[in-house]
C-alpha cells in the first residue's frame, strides 16, 4: 500500500492549490459576478470536463489527476467546475462516446461553457425502478421521430433547454408489452421479453422548445418545485438528433451513468455535514447538558464518521482497481447505499440533537440556524430515490456480485 503521489501528480496538486490560493475568495462564492469569473477561469484551465478528451475541448486528465482536482476543490469548498450539471455528468460523456461529429460540435462546447441546462427524461409514471419497461413512443416518419407519451420526475425540466430522452422505437410485436411469444417455454419467453425490453429503446436529444412539449412542475414535500412532468404530444424530433443507433438507447445512457462514479468528492460533502452536526451537538444545550455529552449522540456521530471514512477508503480501493485497468462493477453500489443511509441519518441526527426546535422552519428563535436542519432533513429523497433506490442497489449487489437469482 502506498498513499503517496508521484512527482508529476504532486506537481499537478500544487498547481491546483496555487490556483485556489489565488482565485478563491472567502465568502465570495455566492456572488454571481465572482461565479461568472470563476467559471471562465476554470474553463481556461480545461478543468471543466477535465476527464474528457482534449479533442472535444476537455482536459484529458488522467484518473489520478481527476481525483486530485476533485479532491482539492472539495476540500476548499470551491464552486463547481462548470454549471451544466447533467450535461457534464452524463449527457456529455454519452455524446462523446456515441455521438456523431456534428452532435459533438453542436453540444459539447455549450455543455463546457454552461450555456444552458440539460434535463434527463428517463422515468415515466409506470416505469421507475423498472426503467426498461418505459413506454413513451417514437414513430419514425420520414426524417423525424414523432414522440408521444409522458415523462415524470424530470429535474430542472422547467428551466432546461435540452433533454436527453429515452423512447421506445420498437414496432408493435417487438416491444415488451406484447409479452412472451407463444409456444416458447415460460423462462425462455421471459428471457426474450427482457432482452427485447432493452433493445427497443432509443435515445434522442431534444430541444425543449419543440412544439408539442408541455412541462408541468411538481411541488415536492419541501414545498418547492425542482422536478416536473413532461408531456409529449406528437413532438417531431429530427432523426439527426438520435444519439447512437436505433435500439441502442439503453447502452448509450446506462454506460454513461456508470462512468460517473468517483465518490471521493461526495465524501467531502458528507465530512462537512458531519462536522456541522458535531458543532451543533456542542452548541445545543438541553436538559442542562450539552448534547455532545449524550452517549447515544456521541455513538451515532462516531458511527456516521466511521461510515464516511469507510466510503472514502472504499473509494480508494475502487480507484486502485481502476488504475490497474480493471473495470469497476457493481461494487460502486456499496457507497451508494452508505450515502443513502447517511443522507437520511445525518438529518435525523441533527433533528434529534435539536429536539423540539428541530421541527421549526422560521428565521427567529427558538428556530435554529433559520430552520436549515429542518430543510436538510427533508432533502434526502433527491439522493436516496433519485439515483436508484436502496432496494434496487441491494438487488444489484445480490445478483451481480453474489450471483443470487434475479427476482
Amino acid at each position: 500500500m502506498d498513499f503517496e503521489l508521484t512527482e508529476s501528480e504532486r506537481a499537478f496538486r500544487d498547481e491546483v492549490r496555487a490556483f485556489l490560493d489565488e482565485n478563491l475568495r472567502e465568502g465570495a462564492a455566492e456572488s454571481p459576478a465572482f461565479l461568472a469569473e470563476w467559471t471562465k477561469k476554470v474553463r481556461a484551465k480545461r478543468w471543466v470536463g477535465f476527464s474528457w478528451p482534449r479533442e472535444v475541448g476537455g482536459g484529458g486528465g488522467s484518473i489520478m489527476e481527476q481525483v486530485i482536482l476533485k479532491d482539492e476543490m472539495a476540500k476548499r469548498k470551491a464552486p463547481p467546475l462548470g454549471t451544466c450539471m447533467m450535461g457534464l455528468a452524463w449527457v456529455g460523456p454519452s455524446i462523446i462516446q456515441y455521438g456523431t461529429e456534428a452532435q459533438k460540435q453542436k453540444y459539447i462546447p455549450d455543455i463546457l461553457d454552461g450555456k444552458y441546462q440539460w434535463c434527463t427524461g428517463y422515468s415515466e409514471p409506470d416505469s421507475g425502478s423498472d426503467l426498461a419497461s418505459l413506454k413513451c413512443r417514437a414513430v419514425r416518419e420520414g426524417d423525424d421521430y414523432v414522440v408521444t407519451g409522458q415523462k415524470i420526475w424530470t429535474s430542472l425540466a422547467m428551466w432546461a433547454k435540452k433533454m436527453i430522452l429515452l423512447v421506445r422505437t420498437a414496432r408493435a410485436g417487438e416491444g415488451a408489452e406484447s409479452g412472451s411469444p407463444s409456444g416458447g417455454a415460460a423462462t425462455d419467453g421471459a428471457k426474450r421479453g427482457a432482452a427485447s425490453k432493452h433493445s427497443g429503446i432509443t435515445c434522442l436529444l431534444v430541444d425543449m422548445e419543440t412544439p408539442g412539449i408541455t412541462v408541468r412542475p411538481i411541488r415536492n414535500m419541501t414545498g418547492s418545485a425542482h422536478f416536473a412532468e413532461v408531456f409529449f404530444d406528437g413532438v417531431r424530433i429530427p432523426v439527426e438528433n438520435r444519439l447512437g443507433d436505433e435500439g441502442q438507447g439503453w447502452q448509450v445512457t446506462i454506460s454513461a451513468l456508470a462512468s460517473e462514479r468517483s465518490s471521493i468528492a461526495e465524501v467531502h460533502g458528507l465530512v462537512r455535514k458531519i462536522d456541522e452536526v458535531k458543532a451543533l451537538a456542542r452548541e445545543t444545550v438541553r436538559g442542562g447538558r450539552r448534547m455532545s455529552e449524550d452517549p447515544g449522540i456521541r455513538r451515532r456521530i462516531a458511527q456516521a464518521e466511521a461510515k464516511i471514512e469507510a466510503m472514502r477508503l472504499n473509494g480508494m480501493r475502487f480507484l486502485t482497481k481502476q488504475l490497474r485497468g480493471e473495470p469497476l462493477g457493481a461494487e460502486t453500489s456499496i457507497n451508494k447505499l452508505h450515502r443513502a443511509a447517511l443522507e437520511i441519518g445525518l438529518g435525523e441526527l441533527a433533528l434529534e440533537i435539536l429536539g423540539s426546535a428541530g421541527t421549526l422552519t422560521g428565521s427567529e428563535a427558538p428556530a435554529v440556524d433559520e430552520g436549515r436542519w429542518a430543510r436538510f432533513a427533508l432533502g434526502w429523497p433527491d439522493v436516496v430515490i433519485g439515483g436508484g433506490t436502496p432496494n434496487i442497489q441491494k438487488n444489484i449487489i445480490a445478483e451481480r456480485i453474489l450471483g443470487l437469482p434475479k427476482d
Binding site: 456542542r282 466511521a306 438487488n395 453474489l402 450471483g403
Partner: protein, 394 residues
C-alpha cells in the same frame, strides 16, 4: 497511489489459501479443537505454521524474522480467519511486535528470535476482574525488591494462555515508600497514575505463575486465567528502559484490535460465502431461497459491511505500521464497525440457514461463535465508538 496488495502479497495470499484449504479445512479444524489434548494450541498445527515462517513474517531480519510489513500479514490473517484456524499466531505476533517496539536492544536480542522461530508462544495479558481496557483496569501490582520485581494479581480472558510460554503483562508499579499503590479504588486518577503502569515479561515457568483454561463458546479461540502469586522477575524483565506508561499499553491494544479485525475480514467473507451458497441451493416455494428479497437483501447488507470494514481494517493496519497521526482513530473505527458487522453477519448467517443453521454439524454456527469472541476482544463497539468520538473532538 495503491490501496491494495502487491503481486507478491497476492501470491502469498493464494499460497496460504491453498495450504489451509487442503490441510486445515473446517472439518480438520473441528477435529483439532475437539481433541481432548487441545488446550490452547495444537503442536502439529503450530509446527506447520512455524515451518511456513508466519510468526516471524513481519519481524525484523536481525531478530530472525522475514522483515516484511504488517500489511503483508493481512493476506495471511484473512485466510486464517476464513478457516477459523485455532492457532496462537496473532497472540505471538502481538507479543513480539510489542517487544520489538518497546524493548531495549538486549531484550529484543534475547526474546525475539524465540518468538520469531516459534519455539516460544507469546501472548498479551491485559484484562482483570474489572474487564476494563483502561488504566484503571490494571490492578496487578509490581513491587521492586532489590534486584527483582514481585508481581501479584490475576489476568483474565488471556488469549491462548494455556499454550503460551511468554506473557507480556501491564502492571501497576507500587511505590514501596508511599506504602501503597496510588491507584487503589480511586477512579479519578491524574496523569501520574498513567506513568505507574509498566509492561513486564513473565515466563510461564517462573514460580508463582499458574494458568487455567476458561471454557468459551468459540473453541477455536481458547482463553485462560493467569494468576501471579508473588512472582519474582529480574529487573530486566521490565519491558523498555523504564516504566512505559499507559500509552504503550494502548499501542499494543490497538495493534491487537487491528490484527483481529483483519482476521475477521476473512471470517465474515467465509460466512457470507457459506450462506450465499446455501441460499442458491436450498429450494422453497419452488425457488432457491436466494431469489427472495428477504434473503438476498440481508446478504447484500453483509457484503456492504464486509467490504467497508475491510477498507477500514486495511487502513488501520497501514496506519499503525507507519505511525500515522490518525492511527488510533483508524483502529477504533475499524474495530467498532467490525464488531457490530460481524455479530450481525453471524446471526443472519444462522437465521438464513433455517433449522440446519442451528445444528452442530453445519459450519455457519462456528462463525457466529467466532463473532461473539471477536466482539469484546481489544474493545467492543461501545468502547471504540466512544474513543473515536473523543479522538474526533467530542
Amino acid at each position: 497511489m495503491n490501496f491494495g496488495f502487491t503481486d507478491d502479497q497476492r501470491f502469498l495470499g493464494e499460497e496460504v489459501h491453498k495450504f489451509l484449504e487442503s490441510s486445515y479445512p473446517l472439518r480438520t479444524v473441528r477435529e483439532v479443537v475437539d481433541s481432548p489434548t487441545f488446550g490452547g494450541s495444537d503442536a502439529t498445527l503450530w509446527n506447520r505454521i512455524v515451518s511456513l515462517g508466519w510468526p516471524g513474517l513481519c519481524l525484523s531480519e536481525a531478530h530472525g524474522g522475514a522483515g516484511l510489513d504488517l500489511e503483508t500479514l493481512i493476506v495471511v490473517l484473512e485466510e486464517t480467519g476464513r478457516t477459523l484456524l485455532p492457532s496462537p499466531l496473532i497472540s505471538t505476533i502481538l507479543a513480539a511486535r510489542a517487544i520489538e517496539r518497546f524493548g531495549t536492544s538486549s531484550q529484543r536480542q534475547s526474546w525475539l528470535p524465540g518468538l520469531a522461530d516459534g519455539s516460544r508462544i507469546g501472548t498479551f495479558a491485559m484484562l482483570e476482574a474489572g474487564d476494563s481496557l483502561s488504566p484503571a483496569g490494571v490492578g496487578t501490582t509490581g513491587r521492586v525488591e532489590g534486584n527483582a520485581i514481585v508481581l501479584s494479581g490475576e489476568k483474565r480472558f488471556v488469549p491462548d494462555a494455556v499454550g503460551a510460554g511468554l506473557f507480556v503483562i501491564p502492571v501497576r508499579m507500587v511505590d514501596e515508600r508511599a506504602g501503597r499503590s496510588a491507584s487503589a479504588g480511586n477512579g479519578d486518577r491524574g496523569d501520574s497514575s498513567l506513568d505507574e503502569i509498566a509492561l513486564v515479561f513473565v515466563d510461564r515457568e517462573a514460580p508463582g505463575v499458574s494458568v487455567s483454561p476458561l471454557a468459551g463458546m468459540d473453541l477455536t479461540k481458547p482463553m485462560g486465567t493467569v494468576t501471579l502469586s508473588d512472582v519474582r522477575i529480574p529487573l530486566d524483565h521490565l519491558l523498555g528502559e523504564t516504566r512505559l506508561g499507559w500509552s504503550a499499553v494502548e499501542w499494543i491494544l490497538d495493534l491487537g484490535a487491528a490484527l483481529v479485525t483483519a482476521e475477521a475480514v476473512g471470517s465474515v467473507e467465509a460466512a457470507l460465502e457459506l450462506t450465499t451458497r446455501f441460499a442458491k441451493d436450498r429450494i422453497q416455494f419452488g425457488h432457491p431461497i436466494g431469489h427472495f428479497q428477504g434473503v438476498k437483501h440481508p446478504l447484500a447488507e453483509i457484503y456492504v459491511d464486509l467490504e467497508s470494514f475491510r477498507s477500514l481494517a486495511y487502513y488501520a493496519i497501514w496506519a499503525i505500521d507507519h505511525d500515522a497521526p490518525d492511527a488510533k482513530l483508524a483502529v477504533s473505527r475499524a474495530k467498532a464497525y467490525a464488531s457490530d458487522a460481524f455479530a450481525q453477519a453471524g446471526i443472519l448467517g444462522v437465521q438464513l440457514h433455517g433449522g440446519v443453521g442451528y445444528t452442530w454439524e453445519y459450519d455457519i454456527q462456528l462463525y457466529l461463535k467466532r463473532s461473539k469472541w471477536f466482539r469484546p476482544i481489544f474493545g467492543d463497539a461501545d468502547y471504540h465508538y466512544e474513543r473515536a468520538a473523543r479522538l474526533g473532538g467530542l
